[in-house]
């Protein structure tokens, strides 16, 4: 797939927009009250999953970069090890979701993709939490952490699937890719 230079500029804007959307959802998630501290819904993964449907691997990696660094800058955690958690979790989930989508995209919906992504992200974060925050006790909080992660992933996956099926904006993007 080759893009003209104007097409490439458009694509850069689309990546930036999805990245901004991820930041916006991260901000929304920041504000939502949660029953358990450290519980995450992972709303910011919605644009990342949308990106799977029409971005190349390189563009997808750029989007992942924007999601992680943008959040680090907006929330001011770029130079703390909160950023390591974000980076580790996102890297694990982004890679696993990309592999799952490319290998089994025909047979699986975003519910499955989201579950795989959440599982990878949570395992990576538990490992980091053991090193930096909780010590051996991290394994004791693993089960509730993983179970809530599974539930929120299913909900987010259902929503993403709904969005991918009904969004006209995304349909226009995918049409654009096919034309190129």
């Amino acid at each position: 797939m080759s893009l003209s230079s104007s097409g490439r500029a458009v694509r850069i804007h689309e990546i930036a927009m999805l990245g901004a959307f991820a930041l916006f959802l991260a901000t929304v998630e920041y504000v939502i009250p949660k029953p358990v501290p450290f519980m995450r819904i992972g709303l910011a993964n919605l644009p990342v999953m949308i990106g799977l449907t029409f971005l190349t691997t390189r563009e997808y990696a750029l989007l992942a970069f924007l999601k992680v660094f943008g959040q680090g800058i907006i929330h001011g955690t770029l130079f703390s090890y909160v950023f390591l958690f974000s980076l580790g979790g996102s890297a694990a989930s982004v890679v696993m979701m990309l592999i799952a989508y490319r290998l089994a995209g025909r047979h699986v919906t975003f519910v499955g993709i989201a579950v795989i992504g959440a599982f990878a992200s949570n395992m990576a974060q538990l490992f980091l939490a053991r090193v930096f925050l909780f010590g051996e006790g991290a394994w004791l909080i693993a089960p509730p952490f993983l179970i809530t992660g599974l539930i929120t992933a299913v909900v987010l996956g259902l929503f993403t699937q709904q969005f991918v099926l009904s969004s006209r904006w995304l349909a226009a993007k995918q049409e654009g890719v096919r034309r190129d």
């Binding site: 089994a104 995209g105 025909r106 047979h107 699986v108 919906t109 975003f110 519910v111 499955g112 579950v115 795989i116 599982f119 051996e136 394994w139 004791l140 693993a142 089960p143 993983l146 179970i147 599974l150 299913v154 996956g157 259902l158 699937q161 709904q162 991918v164 099926l165």
Partner: protein, 125 residues
């Protein structure tokens, strides 16, 4: 990608649930098995994990008894007592084993993480 969920999604979901289930079982079963070193001395108590190396100086009426935790073993290399029975006891490593330094009132024992294991109370002084 037309449907909301497909069979493969169910497979992934069940696989994730099973992995989490097995992990939880392992964690909550083995989590309580980690052995601890419990030290009583002159009315105070200390706890340390057996699997972390440490060098401790436990205060007793005669002075400080040195307790070393090393590679899963515990021993007393030195104590300010005259008979040095505690030093000659050597290394202990299994749950239920203990070293005592009567003159300096220091009692070191290895136990499971669960306090209700019971064998501790059966030790006769």
């Amino acid at each position: 990608m037309k449907q909301i969920m497909k069979r493969a999604d169910a497979v992934i979901l069940i696989a994730a649930a099973v992995i989490i289930g097995v992990m939880s079982f392992q964690i909550y079963r083995n989590g309580s098995d980690a052995a601890l070193v419990r030290i009583d001395a002159a009315g105070r108590q200390w706890i340390y994990p057996v699997d972390q190396n440490d060098q401790l100086f436990i205060p007793g009426p005669l002075g400080h008894t040195e307790v070393v935790i090393e590679d899963g073993h515990v021993h007393i290399p030195d104590s300010p007592c005259t008979n040095k029975i505690c030093v000659s006891t050597g290394k202990i490593q299994r749950t239920g084993q203990w070293i005592i330094c009567l003159p300096n009132d220091v009692f070191v024992r290895i136990e499971g993480a669960l306090p209700e294991d019971g064998e501790v109370d059966d030790v006769a002084f």
